[in-house]
């Protein structure tokens, strides 16, 4: 029963993915300025023939419908076109940098959730205590603060003033472990290169905190209000009447109910994570696809921008799908 619903959800995302791809395509085609001109702008004066040849190569002389088909076909094959600036396939550029971004995103989510959920629970259990007020004030601040600023403040503090943590990059030059998966921390473990692991982690801390902060703030608030709701419910009183310890009541009975809305919110926050990603990668010079995109924007390297935007959008759709599925599975009421 439930699994039918899950399947439904999965199928529903296909039209959206398609829509995303088509939107990106059309937006790119309607860019003011001819991509060929942009490319040629670098080379100086070129003959008309050369331009016409290039047009044919990039299939820009064919009707729009055909171009769309080529585009979608290429997409299915994983071919996202070629970078105008770096003369490499966009797909490869993205693949090289994707692990960096994923590592950062995972670290940020981990930090955010590991911090926010306990804080939310404790704030709810000890409502109106100093802990509660302080944590809610801090999370309010977290929501009002732009990611780029938090990053800069952290750098100012921890790198400039205190010198504890490095400012930019993923790992100190020369310390990179042999590349197996592309995830530095993992690679370090796999090759037994603990110095690399340590260094990579040190580089990961500030960006992860910066990226995870807004998410943590919102998750903490939602967890708190959800817990407060749940703790007021009758079944909590019953749990106590059964003779359960307070700990058991809170973490076994109440939390499972309270987490249901938290999961949905966490999913929405993933969007924030993806968006903030570009900014954080810029601030910390993190070599991921966010930085790639920003650089490409300035270089007017449209195929790259297009490719990255699409990856982001599809990831977002995918993440929402996962959240949707998890929600359907967790909530026992959704069986009928």
């Amino acid at each position: 029963m439930k699994y039918v619903r899950v399947l439904e959800r999965i199928l529903a995302t296909i039209p959206i993915c398609l829509g995303v791809a088509i939107t990106v395509f059309f937006v790119m085609r309607f860019t003011p300025g001819d991509p060929i001109d942009v490319m040629m702008g670098r080379e100086g004066h070129v003959s008309e023939q050369h331009i016409a040849a290039l047009r044919r190569e990039f299939r820009l002389d064919e009707p729009l419908g055909r171009q769309l088909m080529y585009f979608l076909g290429g997409l299915a094959r994983g071919d996202l076109g070629n970078s105008l600036v770096r003369y490499q396939p966009v797909g490869r550029l993205i693949r090289e940098r994707l692990p960096a971004t994923i590592e950062l995103a995972l670290a940020a989510s981990l930090v955010a959730l590991a911090l926010a959920i306990p804080v939310g629970v404790i704030s709810a259990v000890r409502q109106n205590s100093p802990v509660d007020r302080v944590s809610m004030a801090v999370s309010f601040l977290g929501v009002s603060m732009p990611a780029f600023y938090l990053g800069i403040i952290l750098i100012l503090f921890f790198s400039v003033r205190l010198g504890w943590l490095p400012v930019t990059g993923r790992i100190a030059y020369g310390l990179e472990p042999t590349r197996i998966t592309g995830y530095l921390v993992l690679d370090g473990f796999l090759t037994g290169n603990l110095a690399a692991v340590k260094n990579a982690l040190r580089h990961l801390i500030l960006p992860a905190i910066t990226l995870g902060a807004p998410m943590a703030a919102i998750v903490a608030r939602v967890t708190r209000s959800s817990m407060l709701e749940v703790l007021r419910q009758d079944f909590v009183t019953l749990a106590r009447a059964k003779g359960l310890t307070e700990c058991s009541v809170v973490f076994r009975h109440a939390l499972r109910n309270a987490l249901i809305p938290t999961v949905t919110v966490a999913g929405i926050q993933l969007g924030v994570l993806l968006g903030g990603n570009m900014i954080v990668e810029t601030v910390f010079s993190w070599p991921g696809i966010g930085r790639l995109c920003v650089d490409a924007i300035f270089q007017r390297d449209y195929p790259v921008v297009q490719g990255v935007v699409m990856v982001y959008a599809l990831t977002f759709v995918g993440a929402n799908l996962v959240v949707d599925i998890m929600y359907t599975l967790i909530n026992p009421k959704i069986t009928l």
Partner: protein, 322 residues
């Protein structure tokens, strides 16, 4: 068995001290069923919660609750937890909201057994068997199928039975029932009451049944205690209280019950409203609404006065002289 002595449950609020339960005394003997009746807000549910010390923040308890030779109000939290669900169990009003929606019913019943050590290291099968027999006892049909279901898949009556299974799991000596039938249809009500009666006879479980329905109380309980504005205003054997009500409030309650058999007449409610529980004085709380009030009633607190064998009421008129 359970002796409550001068129980007070106070809530400090911005409007003053709310005395939800004020100076309640009563005695519950083994195997007896006492009905606690009164309007909404009179403190009956709060009394039950106070016995188990489940009063929500910022409530404060004072007085004594003697159970098995110990004063429950002096016990440590750990000791209280051993009493709750084990020696004294509670059944709540609305079963839909009282069962945890994310856990299966069987599991919730098993939990009671587990935490009070009644399963020990018995294998999962044996534990399941214990739960199933409990479910059978409370009358849940096809227990083995129902074991794995969630609360929202049960009907209202079955949910209430499940709650009772949870309460009875550890063979408590006292069962506190807070309006167990109010949220149910009349036919199911009768079934649940039968079940309670069966348990009382079979296991000799003493019960305190809270209800606002005098009819249910009169049918079911051995003794009736009437509460008003947080105080106990009358207590005595059922027949005595119903046929010879000693307190004007009780008389008013009985008089306001619409009867089908009599000739048509207007309903006679008790005039006025329940007083605000904040900052009540130590006089008779019912005096403002009482048709038989004396000037003295607004100055003194009556205290429980004799009104017959085993029957007392909080009314100055009973103190001899009118």
């Amino acid at each position: 068995m359970l002796e409550i002595s001068n129980l007070n449950t106070h809530f400090p609020t911005s409007r003053g001290l709310v005395k939800a339960v004020a100076g309640v005394d009563f005695l519950l003997e083994p195997g007896r069923i006492v009905g606690l009746v009164g309007e909404s807000g009179c403190g009956k549910s709060m009394t039950l919660l106070s016995i188990l010390r489940l009063v929500p923040y910022p409530g404060r308890l004072s007085g004594q609750i003697w159970f098995e030779g110990r004063d429950l109000l002096q016990e440590s939290p750990a000791a209280m937890r051993r009493v709750r669900g084990r020696a004294i169990a509670m059944v709540f009003q609305d079963p839909m909201t009282t069962l945890n929606p994310v856990f299966r019913v069987g599991e919730q019943i098993r939990e009671s057994l587990r935490i009070h050590g009644l399963v020990g290291r018995a294998p999962a099968r044996a534990q399941r068997e214990m739960v199933l027999s409990l479910m059978e006892e409370v009358g849940i049909p096809s227990p083995s199928a129902r074991y794995h279901q969630y609360p929202h898949e049960f009907s209202g009556g079955m949910q209430q039975r499940a709650l009772m299974a949870i309460a009875l799991a550890c063979q408590p000596k006292v069962l506190l029932a807070d309006e167990p039938t109010t949220a149910l249809d009349v036919t199911i009500q009768a079934q649940i009451l039968d079940l309670l009666r069966h348990i009382n006879r079979q296991r000799k479980t003493a019960m305190v049944l809270v209800t606002h329905d005098l009819a249910v109380a009169s049918e079911f309980c051995h003794e009736i205690a009437v509460m008003y504005a947080g105080r106990l205003v009358e207590i005595g054997p059922t027949r005595e209280v119903i046929y010879h009500p000693a307190h004007p409030y009780t008389r008013g309650l009985l008089g306001s019950i619409p009867r089908i058999t009599r000739e048509r007449a207007r309903l006679s409610p008790i005039p006025g409203n329940v007083p605000d529980l904040a900052g009540l004085a130590a006089t008779c709380a019912f005096a403002p609404r009482c048709a038989e009030a004396l000037p003295r009633c607004r100055e003194e607190d009556p205290g429980l006065c004799d009104a017959g064998p085993g029957h007392t009421a909080r009314c100055l008129r009973l103190k001899g002289g009118g």
